[in-house]
Symmetry: C2
Subunit: 516 residues, 2 copies
Amino acid sequence: MTTIEPAHPPADGRMGRDARRAARSKRGAVSIPYITRAIGVTEVLSEEGLAIIERNADTLLQEVGIEFRDHPLSIELLKGAGCDILGSRVRFPRGLARKLCATAPSEYVQHARNPARNVVVGGKNTVFAPNYGSPFVHDIDKGRRYGTLEDFQNFVKLAYACPYIHHSGGTVCEPVDLAVNKRHYEMVYAHMKYSDKGFMGSVTRPERAQDTVDMCAILFGAEFIQSNTVCTSLINANSPLVWDSTMLGSAEVYARNNQACIITPFILSGAMSPVSVAGTLTQVLAEVMAGVAFCQLVRPGAPCVFGTFVSTLSMQSGAPTFGTPEASLAIYGAGQLARRMNLPFRTGGSLCASKIPDAQAAYESAQTLVPTIWAGTNFVLHAAGWLEGGLSASYEKFVMDFDQLGAMHVLAKGVDLSENGQAMEAFHQVEPGGHFLGCAHTQSNFESAFYRSSISDTNSFEQWRDEGGKDAPTRANAIWKKTLAEYEAPALDLSVDEALRAFIDKKKASMPDASY
Amino acid sequence: MTTIEPAHPPADGRMGRDARRAARSKRGAVSIPYITRAIGVTEVLSEEGLAIIERNADTLLQEVGIEFRDHPLSIELLKGAGCDILGSRVRFPRGLARKLCATAPSEYVQHARNPARNVVVGGKNTVFAPNYGSPFVHDIDKGRRYGTLEDFQNFVKLAYACPYIHHSGGTVCEPVDLAVNKRHYEMVYAHMKYSDKGFMGSVTRPERAQDTVDMCAILFGAEFIQSNTVCTSLINANSPLVWDSTMLGSAEVYARNNQACIITPFILSGAMSPVSVAGTLTQVLAEVMAGVAFCQLVRPGAPCVFGTFVSTLSMQSGAPTFGTPEASLAIYGAGQLARRMNLPFRTGGSLCASKIPDAQAAYESAQTLVPTIWAGTNFVLHAAGWLEGGLSASYEKFVMDFDQLGAMHVLAKGVDLSENGQAMEAFHQVEPGGHFLGCAHTQSNFESAFYRSSISDTNSFEQWRDEGGKDAPTRANAIWKKTLAEYEAPALDLSVDEALRAFIDKKKASMPDASY
């Protein structure tokens, strides 16, 4: 397990110019495995408030219950565990759901094919993964259009090249140019081929989850994956209070194979939950407990993440809204609930409703990301690239968000109180009214002192104007193009690659294309 | 003293359509006096860390000392209080500075000419004031140019019209079209005439501070201002470790007259302080204690605010940088130090380095504002309009920031755990798989449920595109123009207005224009 790495590779300050240039040119190879937070958490609920929400969630599970639809196994397992069953409605006697969740680990290692990219999900760790699920992609050259496999591969490559993104993610965009029933093969393969970071599996059908597991067996070895987690996948509730057969079936496949599930109520408050933060958190807790309980019944000890995707609706238009104060409060509150369950926590990201990477996108994203960090989130999906309520994956926003993630690495290190950090020697080197730029303390901390933004323009107005007066997305445009141009794939054992392709080709040949 | 008002005027939900329309048309008249925070604070320093910084600050005050330059009164007072004096260098025996600060009040009321706009600075309250000190102004029509009195008046009018801005501020932009030695008259007059919210006084010379006090005596009555604070002014240290005669002389005038001073180290870390957060916080504490001690020696009990303006430098170019993780840590840490001194706290705002109101501006501003809120800041200068490291006051950014301030009002209310907030009735009104939009709980909370952004576009892509595909600044442009077009000045007693103009005209006629 690794503690936090400096935002700037530590060797950098000690290398000569040539070595630094060489290191920069191999930027994709430099990666920070994940953040281990040295800062605390921000809390919005008192002990009393938490107790109210937990009591209400138990009431909800007992009195209203949760639907487990079209999935006989879940009914059977939950009945056996002591739930009251009426058709697909499952009611949990008070306290039972929480008790069933107790076998889930508080943290787990997700192995990557490059062990240096393994991530520990849980505890004081934070793992950033890119945008997930967008049917469209957006860049400032071509505007908005449907995503393709090429776009998908591009985002995988960008995430691979970005040292502050720790995980390759899942459906970084939807490759709409491929048949729905065969898409997942190329998606999972792209993560395996074009990155060596951890990834997420298919959840659109249980058999596609099984395909993911089978491909993982090829990549990691069948034996390895039975005792190690190599995949973290997204299992969304059909809120309010419904788990459907697609998600349950996929969760079942992953849990049975000891692979991690992020059990996530996906809620736009006001439509899929009550129009209040406390009511929404109550529902989140009930839905998570029910989902995790099911996974633990499938395989006690299977890794589960307490997921929360909460935003709000415009009560005027019904449109989803992001970066709102209510979403912020829900993020903090859900973190508190997750910690009390001793489960890894997923929420937030860099969410926004804007259609373009403008100021609205940035305000809303930062108003989501900052709470995400201070809520103690362990797995951050949608950390980079999210645009238009998730409908678009933006190339420029990916680059801008990535820079924010770098800043969060530094924030998470907290205040350095070492003797060097206290800097008392500097005060004896500089007279009142003098300046610290040239003093020995500054010189010896020069390289690593402050986070260096890759996107912010801090030049004078005149210099900025003379260089074309570019806005942030215009600068980001150049960065993602350069990153893709310089991309080099991590080596993949040829026999493994061939075995993966053989598996995929055989599977794809076995069925006609379908749009479902 | 008022507790937090709802972000949406509470009567709104109970009014008929005509009444709501009438209320909206008088928007400038609706104002929230200030925020009283129901949320906690975020902390980045342990008790041990705080003790280290406090010990180091005392060491700094004792061993290095602070320059009090060209201001014999301060030397005399500090000598009398027990400091060691060597020329202009003042060294404080360990613990003395803190002891001298103890007479400063933990909170104070700043009276406005409209008592409904009085603000309480300190405690759990947060007061938002606009941008301060920019020589340039910027809008997307005309770009960047020097500020004029008309711009100054426009920003005063915008701040007056904005319900989430509680205070009229000070040098909202620099009216460069007026002679330097006469500018302050028109600036102070503009605050008095075009707004009825509290304001800040001139600090560019002690006699200009006195002019401010004299004008306040006309507006509020000479007797009133001797026992009440009607002005909060900005006293910046000449960091590192220097208080100059301009600032000391102005502070002296205000303190002697029981008017509030924000004692603010203005620091770009790495140049004006050591290149570390802990070292910078040490210097902040030392400079604040020295400045507040002086004010308390002038008049024990004079209101003083623990000010902190900290950002970072690019160690590559030397340019100021904003919204950085180090600045964020310093904001939180300074808040902790201020609370331990039992002083009101000023920091942060909506700071950025961008030259235009783009995504960079927004990311950096939100990365400053969110810490500002969670640090428990009591007085937030630069809350709206700041652009280009403070060199420009932006019309569009003012509108966009203002919307963020509205969101912070809702955040500060925390999680509603009332029976209505818990929303358990809603779960009995909506079946699993149903939706909450139409249920009775949602209907009864419809109007006030979620913060309504004035600037975010949450429409569908198609609708947004068909309406012109506008970015956030373009929408903001329309809003500030509409706000100014609809502006109506608050009534000002004609005799008071005439007395103010007579005072100003006499003063201006008494001296030639000067550029210093």
